[in-house]
Structure formats: structure tokens, C-alpha cells
């Protein structure tokens, strides 16, 4: 039916402008057409898909695979040179330096203690942030899925921080949390003592986790909301007819059917948690001391902030981080397949 519908006539001005813009492209497209037809005859229609994938694969190789290989080459070289040809081969020396520890549970016993402090902080941050983020996202999605007043407005409000740049988020919260910030102004006006939120190590980690959740929760809420809306309404209607308690409906219907989305949210949040850098760098600068120093921040400091830019050590740390991220990505792929199978 739809194909039989008359095609609306194009506006003459629009058609004119479009053909003017398309004109420079028409000629090269016609020129490509002939060799492509020849190629298709030669390799067959099915193999043409690979031909079309080639440009993308080329870009991917250039901007993803090649940097990966270069990074690995850097990790087995030393010195302060920028080009691999200027850097002496040192084998696994950078890795040995990173892993030279009395005890992996005590960063101060490690030769490169900042790396291990970064690992410990990143692990702590990821555990707290992901757990809290998933719980709050779930709670928010469930509430936003209900028939509440101004639902559209609240959905927009929760999603809004996702649109902000991480630097803007961190600076805004820094102004709120600093010595003379908004929060301390409120506390002192109520007669309380000023708290140095970004100088006390425990508070600093708390706020780093809090700000990260505030900034990214909207994205995960959206995924869970989509999952909630995909649950067939007749299941809830049947439960209502059976007078099933609401908590039981949540445990027996909502959560199991939402589980594939939950897995995706957990894995994505885990990957992002491990990669955390920008917000924490602006908010606390990795401090106080090294209380919020993350692995990516360590890599940045080692590669760029020192006078001797130690690209070899930074590259070795990136390879270690890459292995962790690869494992998490495999987890996500497995979860996605299970979701697809379900």
C-alpha cells in the first residue's frame, strides 16, 4: 500500500538547491559506478559487503589498531625519545618496574607506589560508584515509569546532567564544595562548622563518587526506563488480578525481565568507572595526597606532566588497564549475547 502512495512533489526551490549541492558529487559517483559494477561481476554480489566495509576498517585500523600497536611498542621501550626509533628496547622492564611490590595490598611497599594507589582508588571508586549508580538508576527508572505528575519534566531533569561537559560538572561542584562554597555557606548559616570537603580524604572520595553518579545516572536511568517500558503490561494486569503484593511484582516480574538491561548497565558503568579521569582531575586533582588519584590520572601524569615524559612506563600502565577493560568488554559481549538469546 505504502509503495503505491503518490510521492509528494518536491518544492522547486528545495529541489534546485539540493541538485546544486548534489551536482559536485554526481560526477564522482558516476565515475565510481563503472568500476564497482565490474568489481561486483568479478567477486560476486555477496563479497561486495567486504568492499564496502574496507574504508571503515581502514579508519578503524588507523585510529584504533595502530595506536594500540604503537602503545605496546612504547611499553617495551625506555628513554625520553618520542619516536620508537629513538627509544631503546628494554623488554618487560617497564612491567617489572610496575609490578615490583612487597605486597600488592600495600601500595607503599611498591616501587611505583602511585600506580598501585591509583589501582586501589580506582577499584574502590568503581565498586562504590557502580553499586550506588545501578541502585539509584533503577529506583529513578521505576519512579519515572509510574504515572506521576510532570513525568516528562522529571525525565528531562534527570537526563540533563548527562548533556554537560565533565569539566563543567566538576567545576560547578568544586564551587559548591570548596571552603567558601555554597554548601559551607549553608552549613555555617545554620550554625554548623565549616567542612573542608576536598581536603579530607574520606569526604573527597565520597564527593567524587557522588558527583560521578549525579553526572551519569541519567544515561543509565534511560536504558533501564526503556527496559521497563518493554515489559508487557498484561503481566502486571495479571498480577493485579491475582492481588499480588507490589514488592512481589517487582521481584518476580520487573527485576527478572529487566535483568538483561541491568547487566548492560552494570558492565557499561564498570567500564566507565575504570576509565574515570576528567571529572576527578578537575574536582580534586587526585588529592588530597593521592586519595582520589585514579589509574588514568597516573598514566597522564607519568606521560605528560613530568619533565622527563616517561612514555614507556605510562604505556605499560595503559596496557595493564587495557587488559582489564578488555575483560570487562568481553563480559559485556557475553551479557549482550545472553540478552539476545533471551
Amino acid at each position: 500500500m505504502a509503495s503505491d502512495a503518490p510521492i509528494p512533489a518536491a518544492q522547486p526551490e528545495r529541489a534546485g538547491a539540493a541538485s546544486l549541492l548534489a551536482a559536485p558529487l554526481a560526477l564522482p559517483m558516476r565515475l565510481i559506478d563503472w568500476p564497482m559494477q565490474g568489481l561486483q561481476r568479478l567477486i560476486g554480489e555477496r563479497r561486495m559487503a567486504y568492499v564496502f566495509l574496507l574504508p571503515n576498517l581502514g579508519f578503524f585500523s588507523l585510529f584504533v589498531f595502530l595506536p594500540l600497536v604503537i602503545n605496546f611498542i612504547f611499553s617495551v621501550t625506555g628513554g625520553a625519545g618520542l619516536f620508537p626509533s629513538e627509544r631503546p628496547y628494554v623488554g618487560a622492564q617497564q612491567y617489572a618496574y610496575l609490578f615490583d611490590c612487597g605486597s600488592f595490598l600495600d601500595a607503599s611497599s611498591c616501587r611505583e607506589d602511585h600506580f598501585w594507589r591509583g589501582v586501589a582508588n580506582t577499584a574502590r571508586f568503581t565498586i562504590f560508584q557502580v553499586t550506588a549508580m545501578v541502585l539509584f538508576s533503577l529506583l529513578t527508572a521505576v519512579v519515572l515509569n509510574m504515572k506521576i505528575r510532570a513525568r516528562g519534566f522529571f525525565r528531562a531533569v534527570y537526563f540533563f546532567p548527562v548533556l554537560l561537559s565533565p569539566v563543567v560538572v566538576a567545576l560547578t561542584w568544586k564551587w559548591i564544595l570548596q571552603r567558601d562554597g555554597l554548601l559551607n555557606a549553608a552549613i555555617t548559616s545554620l550554625g554548623g562548622e565549616r567542612i573542608l570537603f576536598l581536603v579530607d580524604p574520606s569526604w573527597a572520595m565520597f564527593w567524587v563518587v557522588f558527583v560521578s553518579i549525579w553526572a551519569h545516572m541519567g544515561f543509565y536511568t534511560l536504558i533501564l526506563l526503556a527496559g521497563l517500558q518493554a515489559i508487557p503490561a498484561d503481566l502486571y494486569e495479571a498480577a493485579e488480578m491475582d492481588a499480588t503484593p507490589r514488592w512481589r511484582v517487582f521481584w518476580r516480574i520487573t527485576l527478572p525481565l529487566l535483568w538483561p538491561n541491568m547487566i548492560v548497565v552494570i558492565v557499561l558503568a564498570l567500564i566507565r568507572g575504570v576509565q574515570t579521569f576528567d571529572e576527578v582531575f578537575v574536582l580534586t586533582g587526585g588529592g588530597p595526597g593521592t586519595a582520589t588519584l585514579m589509574v588514568v590520572h597516573y598514566i597522564y601524569e607519568t606521560a605528560f606532566a613530568n619533565q622527563v615524559q616517561n612514555f614507556g612506563l605510562a604505556a605499560a600502565a595503559s596496557v595493564v588497564l587495557g587488559v582489564v577493560l578488555f575483560a570487562l568488554t568481553l563480559l559485556q559481549l557475553a551479557a549482550s549475547r545472553r540478552k539476545g538469546a533471551a
Partner: protein, 430 residues
């Protein structure tokens, strides 16, 4: 219809191509020189004015001034230079680190003796290691680390301002009393910077190098300086917001706190004068005071920013022409005077500068810092001239900062400082 559009498209393309050809033809007559520049105050504006005059006199050279953040100079520029993609000239603070990419201007200079005579003591700071003769640039500003004091807070507290040659310990006690009386949150603030810390450490007797000139940073003088700063944090003389609040090599200053009259004494340096003159104005009386003393000396740290020619330039002659113009006495005098900088040109320093337009506060502060130049310890000059000095500064900032924030003891920090310096220098030598 279609053929008309084809003709229009072709005409448009041909027009653009012709325009580009004409533009490139006229540009070919000019040599472009790019300068990477950062500013602390108004010096970027002053330089822009001076370069306009240069371009008017030299129609064959176009100077492009890329004004970038300080961080881009310390972190991005070295990578650019290593890849051979840097500017023709750069204003740098890590003079020793960038020296190996610097261009020896001598073959292109009309009067190399002028440079030797007027920039002599500072030229070694900008020379590649092992080169005793190259002329690669000049100091756009000579800086001296030293303290500023909010005199109004002393008056409000009814406490007399300590005189010259007062020890750091005495200053620490006095500013704490003042802060307590006037409810100022920061008795003493010190930039989280190696230069600022070593002003204290060298005054306390730190020697920094052994007899062979190799780094031997941890000695009794250094420990006295480090303990003083550490104890000040524990006693509330210094607050942890600067040294204890961030990690690694991050710089933190207290400019805003000083401008808001929250700091009694601010250990910073001469480059702040223009900024304070503009922003503090008459809000309170601020003065610079001579470097406090310790067991070893009463010394600040010299430093500053140099304008250095880069050896990958394709136009060394044009670069030398720009450098000669900017380093000439009348131009440089105007630059220092309008930017309120301590001159890094011996001739200008000897004649004295008339800082027209500066307030009495700024003029007095400039005099204090200019007088300090002659009082600086030889160790301070040696440290400033050491090509890997930022390795030392960064190790100290990072590890002392950790100790101050409560991560480990001072003794642990000393061990880490030594191993960090040894590791980085070994990496550079590979």
C-alpha cells in the same frame, strides 16, 4: 536545468580556486614566524603592540602570536618540539627541558656581543647540555620568588611588621598571631611549586648538589626546610588547601585568596605584581618583603620565562630578526616597564626602569624584588641553571604534598624523593 547547476557549481569551484591562488600568491611574499606564548598578566597585550610595530617596519615578515595556557607550554609544547612540529619561537619556563630543541642564533645575529653582554648570566639556563656558547634566547622576565604581605591585616591586628633578615620561624609565628586576631583563614600561603619551596630550603641551608654537580637533594638544610613546611601545616600556619589538597605535580596558587584579603603572608613571586596592582588596587595595603632568612641564607629562587628560538624553524633568518627586535634595549625596556617585570637585561637593570602607570604599591614591590636579585644564593642560581631542575621540583612537590596530607612520614617522603629523581634522570639518560 541540470546543466545550469553544473555550470554554477563549476563557476563557484573555479572562483574559490582562483581566490585561493591569488591569496597564496600574495602570502608567498611574506615569511610567517609563529610564537607560542602564555601570559601571567598583561604581557601578551604588550607584545602584540610591539609586534605590530615590527610588522610595520618589516613588511616581509608576518608574526603570528599563538596565546596558549601555561599548561600547554609545560605539557604540550615538549611533545610538539620532540615531534618537530613546534612553533618558531616559544616562551618557556622549563628552560633546561626545552634547551635541546633550541636554535643557536649566533650565525644569524648582527651583534652577538650585545647578547653576551646583556643576557650573559641567563644564557646558560637556555643552552643545551654540554654547550657553553650557544645563544638561544633571552629572558622575557626574570622572576624572584618571595613573599607578599597584607600590611592592612598587620595594622588591624596591631602587630608590628617584622623587619628584614627575620627568620622563617619568626614570620610563621607572627603571621599566625595576626591571622588569629583578624580572623584571616590563611596565616601563610605558599604556592605548591618547587621554586617556592626551595626558597625556604636554600635559606635553611639546602645545598641540592654534591661536589661533582650531581643532584644530592636530601641534606640537613633540605630537611630543615621540609620540616618547617610540614610543621606549619600541622600547626595551622599553613592550610592544606594548597599543598595537601591535590596529588602529583599539580600547581596550586593562592592569588584569589590573597586578593580577597584572606592571606596574611603569601610566598609567591615577582610576576604577581601586575596582577595584584590591577585586582587589589587600593582595597588594602599589600607589600613585598625581602626574603626571610634561615640557617643558610636569606634567599629567594630566581626563575622566569625565556623567549627561545626553536631549531626546527624553516626561517632562521626571520626568527633571528624578530628576536633581535624584541631583545633590543628600547623595545625590551618598554616590554618590562609596561608588563611590570623585573628586567632580565643587565643594561636595563643597571639603568633602572621607570614603571610608568604602576601604582606606588607596585613600584615599591618591584624595587624589593629587583634588590633581591643581588641577594640570591649561588645554590639558587645553580638549581635554576640545572637542566633537569623540574625533575627535582616535581619529586619534591609530589612527595612532600603526600606527607602533608597525611600519607606517610617525612622520612618516607625523603626516600621517595631520592628514588623518583634517580629513576627519572636514569630514564632521560637511556
Amino acid at each position: 536545468m541540470h546543466s545550469k547547476h553544473w555550470i554554477s557549481a563549476l563557476a563557484l569551484t573555479a572562483g574559490l580556486a582562483m581566490g585561493g591562488f591569488v591569496a597564496s600568491d600574495s602570502a608567498q611574499a611574506q615569511t610567517t614566524v609563529r610564537i607560542a606564548w602564555y601570559s601571567d598578566g598583561n604581557e601578551g597585550e604588550v607584545l602584540t603592540d610591539l609586534l605590530k610595530r615590527f610588522e610595520a617596519q618589516n613588511k616581509d615578515i608576518k608574526v603570528v602570536l599563538d596565546q596558549v595556557p601555561y599548561k600547554a607550554i609545560t605539557e604540550n609544547l615538549p611533545v610538539q618540539l620532540a615531534s618537530g612540529q613546534g612553533p618558531d619561537i616559544a616562551r618557556v619556563v622549563d628552560l633546561g627541558g626545552v634547551a635541546r630543541y633550541a636554535l643557536d642564533l649566533r650565525p644569524h645575529l648582527k651583534d652577538a656581543a650585545y647578547w653576551e653582554k646583556n643576557f650573559g648570566p641567563f644564557l646558560p639556563w637556555m643552552r643545551p647540555e654540554g654547550d657553553a656558547k650557544a645563544i638561544t634566547g633571552f629572558m622575557t622576565q626574570l622572576t624572584v620568588s618571595g613573599p607578599f604581605v597584607n600590611k592592612t591585616l598587620f595594622e588591624q591586628a596591631g602587630i608590628a611588621l617584622p623587619g628584614p633578615k627575620t627568620s622563617w620561624e619568626e614570620w610563621g609565628k607572627t603571621v599566625k598571631e595576626v591571622a588569629a586576631k583578624v580572623q584571616a583563614p590563611f596565616p601563610l600561603a605558599m604556592d605548591r611549586s618547587g621554586h617556592r619551596f626551595f626558597s625556604v630550603a636554600i635559606s635553611e641551608g639546602a645545598k641540592v648538589f654534591d661536589a661533582k654537580g650531581e643532584p644530592a637533594v636530601i641534606d640537613d638544610g633540605f630537611k630543615r626546610g621540609a620540616k618547617l613546611v610540614y610543621d606549619w601545616h600541622n600547626a595551622g600556619v599553613m592550610k592544606k588547601e594548597l599543598w595537601g589538597s591535590v596529588s602529583g605535580t599539580a600547581y596550586r596558587g593562592a592569588n584569589d585568596e590573597f586578593k580577597n584579603a584572606q592571606v596574611v603572608m603569601y610566598q609567591s613571586g615577582s610576576w604577581q605584581i601586575a596582577q595584584f596592582d590591577k585586582t587589589v588596587g587600593d582595597a588594602f595595603d599589600w607589600i613585598a618583603v625581602p626574603a626571610p632568612c634561615g640557617a643558610g641564607a636569606c634567599s629567594g629562587m630566581p626563575g622566569g620565562a625565556g623567549l627561545v628560538a626553536i631549531k626546527t624553524t624553516k626561517s632562521p633568518e626571520a626568527v633571528a630578526k624578530v628576536m633581535e627586535y624584541l631583545a633590543s634595549e628600547p623595545v625590551l625596556s618598554e616590554f618590562y616597564a609596561r608588563s611590570l617585570f623585573v628586567p632580565g637585561h643587565l643594561g636595563i637593570a643597571a639603568k633602572g626602569l621607570d614603571y610608568q602607570g604602576a601604582s606606588p604599591h607596585a613600584k615599591a614591590a618591584l624595587k624589593v624584588f629587583s634588590d633581591q636579585v643581588a641577594q640570591l644564593s649561588p645554590v639558587a642560581y645553580q638549581l635554576q641553571g640545572y637542566t633537569s631542575n623540574r625533575v627535582i621540583f616535581n619529586a619534591v612537590i609530589s612527595r612532600l604534598g603526600q606527607a602533608i596530607s597525611g600519607e606517610g612520614s617525612l622520612d618516607e617522603a625523603y626516600k621517595r624523593i631520592e628514588s623518583d629523581i634517580a629513576q627519572q634522570i636514569a630514564e632521560r639518560k637511556k
